[in-house]
């Protein structure tokens, strides 16, 4: 396999989440993190998950990634049951999860080294291509602790993209960043998504961010974790986070979010 092959767009994957339930038992009691959740993610779709803290978004992402198994229900990737992690589904974790014992290039190379069909020279070229894509080619030999928070997230993005997965699972990747860096990354991620054709499941607390990036936005509510509402965002791309049309969508979503969180508050108070 040549580098062109390694970089070539591969068909994005279709994901079906079918009646997934997951609960955690601790000595504080049992929490139903996900209660019979079903979602279909189309090939090449950009799906955003929004919801208050603790409503099971990360849990769902981990289950799609194959890192956790559901108590009941199943996840299908391109029709095949997910039984464990796979290189077709890469994760960008809520924490950057970069390896401090490797430099930037070493981190991006980690997944590539495990990918058969390439020699080391080709792997290096692929890694450099993605570092370039996230604007960090100058930092390939930097240590992780020398990077700013935003740069770490970019490295994590490059690391997730490098093995050319069909699905990208992103867990609040930009939560810790300043507004400017974030805006820049919104542009980057849309560009990458359009250029490289991937199915993306993107978790965020930020409704505007969800409306800016997603084809579709799902609203979750906690205790038990369920999908409460679904919004289709029909705006042309690339979208500007500050545009008026986008503000309309995000107001609509926020209203819905407030609606059911308030209701839940009163339910709990009763």
């Amino acid at each position: 396999m040549s580098i062109e092959n390694a970089l070539i767009n591969i068909a994005p994957e279709r994901i079906e989440i079918d009646g997934v339930t997951k609960s955690f038992t601790t000595n504080r009691g049992t929490i139903v993190a996900l209660d019979n959740v079903s979602v279909k993610v189309a090939e090449g779709e950009f799906l955003c998950l929004v919801g208050p803290s603790g409503c099971g978004k990360s849990t769902l992402l981990n289950i799609i990634a194959g890192l956790d198994t559901p108590d009941s229900g199943r996840v299908l990737a391109n029709g095949e049951s997910v039984t464990g992690p796979g290189r077709d589904r890469m994760v960008m974790f809520q924490e950057h999860a970069l390896f401090p014992w490797l430099d930037v290039l070493g981190n991006v190379m980690f997944g590539l080294r495990l990918k058969p069909g390439l020699n080391n020279k080709e792997r290096k070229e692929v890694a450099k291509y993605y570092l370039d894509l996230v604007g960090l080619s100058k930092f390939q030999h930097a240590n992780i602790h020398e990077l700013s928070g935003g740069m770490k997230q970019r490295v994590a993005l490059a690391r997730a993209l490098a093995p050319n997965p069909r699905v990208l699972l992103m867990d609040e990747p930009f939560a810790a960043l300043d507004a400017l860096t974030r805006e820049q990354l919104y542009g980057d991620i849309q560009r990458i998504w359009e250029a490289r054709r991937k199915t993306i499941v993107f978790v965020t607390h930020n409704v505007r961010e969800a409306a800016c990036l997603g084809d579709r936005v799902l609203l979750f509510s906690p205790n038990p974790g369920r999908i409460r509402a679904e919004f289709q965002v029909d705006l042309p791309r690339p979208r500007d986070i500050n545009s008026v049309e986008l503000a309309r969508y995000s107001t609509e979503i926020t209203t819905a979010l407030k609606g059911f969180t308030n209701k839940q508050g009163t339910e709990a108070a009763e």
């Binding site: 890192l67 974790f93 490797l102 980690f110 240590n143």
Partner: protein, 256 residues
């Protein structure tokens, strides 16, 4: 440059103070030899070969025992950290046995192996092994589990995960454990050499012991000084490069 200068000034001052106290005549020279006496002994014992041979004999024993301790200690520490059953059995045993001062192994070694090299080796290995197990085990358990999850999504499993994730992730602890193991190996070897008198080799510990018996304090102090120097050299050559590496990578080890 400034750093080595400050080290040199410090040690010179220390030596001068010692020489001064020794010359003041308050203490009998039999009990407190001056640094010059000690140097004289070192010179003479180096020329007649005693010191070389003793150092060589001791280093051979140390390296063998320490090497074996690491060879078994690191893998055992790695697996006790990852399997609950081993944690509750071998891990607990290591935790308990590790608290034994290494001299405590000497009587057992003498009864089992007699006055032999094997007894010596046994004491050193016992002195090293358990602390290395504990340090490695602690290192692996301190590793954030997110590294393993990230590695798994990228297709790492089995031996690859052990060598490319778990081992490097616990490197700072491993080096700490190796340093501690080294110190423990020295302590146990000296204990062994002082108590086990054998004819197959005359090490630094035995030199120390004979110095005491002959009331040759210059010899005693010289051997102690040599042990200190070897310890410092080992630190510089064996451990410092690793420490520098991980301080640079992890961004730790801040110092004014």
């Amino acid at each position: 440059m400034i750093r080595s200068l400050s080290s040199i000034v410090f040690f010179l001052t220390l030596l001068l103070a010692w020489e001064f106290v020794a010359r003041s005549g308050h203490y009998s020279p039999v009990l407190l030899p001056s640094p010059l006496n000690v140097l004289e002994y070192i010179w003479q014992a180096t020329c007649d070969g005693t010191l070389w041979v003793a150092t060589l004999v001791t280093m051979k024993r140390l390296m063998l025992g320490y090497g074996l301790g690491l060879l078994f200690g690191i893998p055992l520490g790695l697996i006790t950290a990852r399997f609950r059953l081993l944690q509750d059995t071998l891990g607990l045993l290591a935790l308990g046995v590790q608290t034994l001062p290494s001299v405590c192994w000497v009587p057992l070694a003498l009864l089992w192996f007699g006055q032999t090299e094997a007894a010596m080796l046994f004491v050193v290995v016992m002195g090293t092994l358990w602390s290395v197990i504990i340090a490695t085990n602690d290192g692996v358990r301190a590793m954030p589990p997110i590294y393993l999850r990230a590695a798994r999504t990228m297709g790492s499993k089995g031996l690859h995960t052990w060598f490319k994730v778990i081992l490097p992730a616990s490197l700072p602890y491993l080096v700490g454990g190796m340093k501690q193991g080294w110190a423990f190996a020295w302590r146990s070897l000296m204990a062994a050499e002082i108590f086990v008198t054998i004819l197959t080799g005359f090490g630094l510990g035995q030199l120390l012991q004979y110095g005491r018996e002959l009331l040759a304090m210059d010899q005693v102090v010289a051997v102690m000084a040599i042990i200190v120097v070897i310890g410092l050299l080992a630190d510089r050559l064996l451990f410092s490069p690793w420490e520098r590496f991980f301080h640079r990578r992890w961004g730790t080890g801040s110092m004014k």
